[in-house]
């Protein structure tokens, strides 16, 4: 098979070709590894997707369902003996002694670890500009951001530097970069995938998810990740096997459009694309109806209390004692802690630690954290009510197309507004997928569909039907 033919295959098609004997796992791995390594060598001229690329191909080609399909993994997943730095200076060079369960499940199913991907530091960001290893560029326009925090994973898949990639989503960190890069991103139901070995940001929200070229690849990756893990007490047995999607119609499917997430604050071009996708869904037989998520406008506020609060607790472990960076010449223990954390963390991480510590501090707990937890209850209730009337809720994934590098770095609040449409689902713990809906000003627009907890099979099926009708072509950025 020619290299061009190999790169044209989806992950699922590549696994099928390997099983059929028409493609050697080594050939597939080398084709991608060369492209990934070239991106690293290109330095400033590359996309800066990777923090590590496998120096050599794996030796084990044992037959397995994923048949040696190369996998790119977000930096914050622990991988034994391979740098796992969460995009942070404080973990620069950190070599974990064990591998995250989500990664080991995929490699046990036959996927081969090919690269670690760049990300916003500790998954805090919506543009991948908060990485200690430099910003990632968007393959659709190198002067624009790929989204974040799984920006390296999204850009790598969009640019054909990896067939698929693993990311994490806390408030939109899989879906939003997938949208901005014109690929598919799925945030599973909270608890569906083990968090063991994922460097923690906000534990009640963090969830691993696939970034892929198409919906079938997302289903295939998810199939091999889900399930209860004794090492994560919040993980759950998925109630059914994840099926590969096959639907081509949406007859009888009710899609709910929440006015709270489809009006003010969403760019006109994004709304046009959203409307066009709704029209396609209708042609496929779907019924479109308005729904209300009355508390959704408060989701961002609740999220920016809860996530920083959890982060301030989770990131207390970076103290220069057991691993990672330690500030030189400390005069005493407190000086070591405070200077290590000052020098080791980037500006956004420090901002969130401060915000979270403030929200949890004496006198403010009820006004911020307690209140945010109650808003979270109302948001989950809103979704339950809406799902009594519709099968899925649909919104644009992000309020804008990919923005310019540096455009929003000066105003944290402007950056946080990127998560406006994705955060409500995160707070409710429900699954949501972003698929490419089309282009606005030559840049991809994401279409988000969310369903009730554990509705992944139905959600993937509906997304697959819609994907077929949209016929989005991402081949240009993979050239």
């Amino acid at each position: 098979m020619s290299a061009t033919d190999v790169l044209a295959l989806s992950a699922r098609a590549a696994a099928d070709a390997i099983e059929a004997g028409s493609l050697a796992p080594r050939e597939l791995f080398d084709a991608y590894r060369e492209r990934a390594a070239a991106d690293v060598s290109a330095g400033e001229d590359g996309l800066n997707c990777f923090t590590w690329v496998a120096p050599e191909p794996p030796t084990d080609d044992a037959p397995a369902p994923l048949a040696g399909v190369p996998l790119a993994v977000k930096d914050l997943f622990c991988t034994a003996g391979i740098p796992s730095q969460a995009g942070s200076r404080i973990l620069a060079g950190y070599l974990p002694p064990y591998t995250a369960s989500a990664v080991s499940r995929l490699t046990e199913a036959g996927a081969t670890l090919m690269a670690k991907t760049n990300q916003d530091e500790f998954a805090m960001g919506s543009s991948n500009e908060n990485s200690a290893f430099g910003a990632v560029r968007n393959p659709w326009d190198r002067e624009r951001v790929p989204g974040g925090s799984s920006g390296g994973s999204a850009a790598a898949v969009a640019a054909g530097l990896a067939p698929w990639a693993l990311g994490t989503d806390t408030g939109g960190s899989v879906r939003q970069p997938a949208a901005l890069c014109g690929i598919v991103g799925l945030k599973p139901t909270y608890g569906a995938v083990s968090r063991y070995g994922m460097i923690a940001f906000a534990s009640s929200l963090d969830q691993a998810g696939p970034l892929t070229r198409d919906v079938a690849d997302a289903a295939l990756m998810l199939r091999h990740m889900v399930g209860r893990d004794p090492c994560d007490a919040t993980s759950l047995e998925f109630p059914e096997a994840i099926e590969l999607p096959s639907a081509e119609r949406l007859d009888g499917i009710r899609l709910g459009v929440p006015q709270e997430l489809t009006g003010e604050g969403i760019e006109a071009g994004v709304l046009d694309s959203f409307g066009a996708t709704l029209a396609l869904a209708q042609e496929l037989g779907a019924e479109i109806q308005p729904v209300h998520l009355p508390h959704a406008p408060h989701a961002l506020s609740a999220y920016y209390v809860l996530a920083p609060a959890e982060c301030s607790s989770n990131l207390a472990r970076y103290d220069g004692v057991r691993y990672g960076y330690r500030a030189p010449d400390p005069k005493d223990l407190l000086d070591m802690y405070t200077r290590t954390r000052h020098d080791g963390f980037g500006a956004e991480v420090k901002r969130r630690i401060m915000l979270g510590t403030y929200a949890l501090s004496a006198g403010y707990y009820d006004a911020y954290y307690g209140r945010a937890q109650r808003v979270r209850t109302k948001i989950a209730e809103d979704f339950r009510t809406a799902f009594a009337a519709v099968d899925f809720i649909v919104t644009p994934t992000a309020p804008t197309v990919a923005f310019r590098l540096g455009e929003k770095t000066a105003e944290p609040l402007a950056m946080y507004l990127n998560d406006y449409c994705t955060v409500p689902m995160s707070l409710a713990g429900i699954p949501a997928i972003s698929i490419p809906g089309g282009l606005s000003e030559g840049l991809p627009v994401g279409f988000q569909m969310a369903g009730p907890a554990f509705s992944e099979n139905r959600l993937l099926d509906a997304a697959h039907a819609l994907e077929g009708a949209i016929g989005f072509d991402g081949a240009a950025t993979r050239a």
Binding site: T234, D319, R322, R326, P330, L355, T357
Partner: protein, 94 residues
């Protein structure tokens, strides 16, 4: 509006050093975000229970069976400083 003393107090709680030139920007940025968050105050949430975890979990505990932990040298291998098989840190009161 958060003042510089409050920033310093929270920074100490968070074990973060803050440079003199960082105080004012940090106070301003935190205040802007807190102003936005304050919109939650418009909601009447008096009878609403808090949610800390969205998925119902029962029987999450595994059997308490002893199993090997990581070898000591593996754990110490990533430490900035070690001594006598333990992590070495500066004295709390130099």
């Amino acid at each position: 509006m958060i003042g510089r003393d409050e920033v310093l107090h929270v920074a100490l709680l968070a074990r973060l050093a803050v440079g003199e030139e960082e105080l004012e920007p940090m106070a301003r940025e935190l205040s802007a975000v807190l102003d936005h968050i304050a919109k939650m105050g418009e909601l009447d949430l008096s009878d609403v229970p808090p949610t800390s975890h969205v998925v119902e979990l029962t029987g999450a505990l595994r059997p308490d069976e002893p199993r090997p932990s990581l070898p000591r040298e593996t754990v110490l291998a990533q430490a900035p400083a070690v001594s006598d098989g333990g992590f070495l840190v500066p004295s709390p009161q130099a």
